[in-house]
Amino acid sequence: MNATTEIRYSEIHKFFNRRHLLNRLSLSLEGGTATLLSGENGAGKTTLLRILSGLEKPSECRVDFTPGEPGSNPQPWSQCRRRLQRQVMYLHQQPYMFDGSVVHNLALALPRTMPRLQRGKKIRQALEWAQLEALKEAAAKTLSGGEKQRVSLARAWLRQSRILLLDEPIANMDRESQVRTVALLRRFKNARAALMISSHNHEVFCQLIDRRLVLDSGKLSPAQAPLLPGNVTPLARDGAPSGNAGNASR
C-alpha cells in the first residue's frame, strides 16, 4: 500500500476520575490509509481522537511530525498543540453548526483568499454532495441531526485536510447518506489522506478500511474478529469488499 506516515504519536496517556482511560498508547496516522477505531461506549475513542487533533490535553503524549526522517525527535504534545489543530481535522461526534445559513457554514471551511467564483462553485458542489440544495439558506442550527452530520462532512471535504479524524460520522444518517459518506471517504483516501474513523457501525465501513483497532481498558490492539461485508450488501453498491469474509463470532 506504500503508506507514508504523517504523524507519529507515542506515550499517549490520559488519566481521569482515578482511571487510566488511555494507557501509554502509540499510534501512527498514515497517508492513504483508513483506520476504524472501535471499542465499547466509554472506552475512550472520543478522548483519543481529540487528543490526536490537539483539542484535549492528555496527561502525557509525544508527537513526531517527521517520523523516520533523520534527526526527527518527538516533542511534547503541549508544544505541538497549535500545529496539530491546524493539520489534523476532527469531526465532532455531535457536529457544531455556527449561527447562519448552511452556505455560511460551508464557506467557513474555505480559505479566505479563494476567489469568489471558485468559492461559489466549491460550495455548490458541497451542497450537492450533502443533498442540501433545498435547505441552503436555512439556519444551520435548525437542521436535523443527520443533516448536520452531512454539513460537517461537506465542510471536511471543502477543507481538504490531509489528516481527518471522524467521530461517529454516520450515527444519525439515513442509509443512503451512509453509503454516500463511505464513497466520499474513499475519495479522501484515494487522494492519500490519512483517515481514522470511530464507529460502532463496522459493516458500513468494511470495504473502505485497511485496519481496525480496538480500544479496550486503555489499550489499543488490532481487531480479532474479521469484518462481515456480507451484512451491508443490500446497500453497498460500489466496489468489492476489502475485508476478508468469515464467520461472525464475538
Binding site: 455556527f98 449561527d99 442550527k141
Partner: protein, 232 residues
C-alpha cells in the same frame, strides 16, 4: 404634580432641537459611546482569555473583576482625578475637567462590568464553537470573532450593562469633568444639579429624555441579537 408638565416641556425641547438640551445630550452620548467603544475590544479579549485559558490565578482574577463591580464610581473618579490633577503624575497632560478625562474615567468604570458579564457569556458558550473553528483551519483571531458571534446575545447584554453604567453615572463624571456648562455637563450631572436645586420635575424630565434616547439606541441594536432563541 408638575412632573408631567416638566416632562412634556423637556420632550418639546427635545423635539424642537433646543440647543441647550441637545448640547448636554450630545456630550453625554459622545463621551459614553467613545468610552464604551474603546473599552469593548480589550474587555472582550480579557473575558475570552479568562474563560478559555487555564492558568494559575485565573479564579482569583475573575473574582477580582466581579469585586470591582462594587467599586463606587466616585472612587474611580477620585483615582482618575488624582492622576490627572495638576499635582498628579499625569498633571502635565492638562486633561482634568475635559471630556477626555470623562472618557478615561468611564472606560475604567465600564471595564470590570464588561469583563465580568462577557466572561459569563463566553463561559456559557459551547466549547465546540472554538474547536470547530480551529479544526476548520481558521486562525485564532478570526476564530475568536466567530465565538463572539455565537455568544453575541450575552455579549450584547454585557455591552448594554456597561453602557448603562456609564451613561447614567454621575459621581465620576462630576469629579473629573466638573459639570462645567458647555464643556462637561452631561445628562446625569445636569440631573444632579437640577435635583440639588430642588427642581425635581426637571430632573426626572431629563431622566426620561435620556431613557428615550437610550431606548431608540437599544431598538436599533436589537437586530444584532437576532432571534436569540436556539432550537436544540
Amino acid at each position: 404634580m408638575d412632573l408631567f408638565e416638566a416632562t412634556a416641556q423637556a420632550l418639546v425641547l427635545l423635539a424642537v432641537f433646543d440647543p441647550a438640551l441637545w448640547e448636554i445630550i450630545g456630550i453625554s452620548f459622545r463621551v459614553s459611546l467613545t468610552a464604551i467603544c474603546i473599552a469593548i475590544p480589550p474587555a472582550l479579549l480579557a473575558a475570552f482569555l479568562l474563560a478559555h485559558l487555564e492558568f494559575p490565578g485565573r479564579r482569583v482574577l475573575i473574582s477580582l473583576f466581579n469585586t470591582l463591580l462594587s467599586l463606587p464610581a466616585v472612587v474611580i473618579g477620585l483615582t482618575v482625578y488624582l492622576m490627572l490633577s495638576r499635582q498628579g503624575p499625569l498633571g502635565d497632560w492638562q486633561l482634568l475637567f475635559t471630556r477626555s478625562a470623562m472618557v478615561i474615567a468611564q472606560i475604567m468604570l465600564a471595564f470590570p462590568i464588561l469583563v465580568s458579564m462577557s466572561h459569563a457569556a463566553f463561559q456559557a458558550a459551547d466549547q465546540r464553537a472554538w474547536e470547530t473553528a480551529r479544526t476548520l483551519g481558521i486562525p485564532s483571531p478570526q476564530a475568536f470573532v466567530m465565538v463572539v458571534g455565537e455568544v453575541r446575545f450575552g455579549l450584547l447584554a454585557a455591552v448594554l450593562a456597561g453602557f448603562g453604567r456609564i451613561i447614567a453615572e454621575v459621581g465620576a463624571s462630576m469629579m473629573v469633568g466638573g459639570n462645567i456648562l458647555h464643556f462637561t455637563r452631561n445628562i446625569p450631572t445636569a440631573i444632579a444639579l437640577e435635583t440639588s436645586m430642588g427642581n425635581f420635575a426637571q430632573g426626572i424630565a431629563l431622566g426620561i429624555v435620556l431613557l428615550i434616547i437610550a431606548f431608540a439606541l437599544n431598538l436599533s441594536l436589537q437586530y444584532f441579537q437576532g432571534r436569540g432563541k436556539l432550537s436544540l
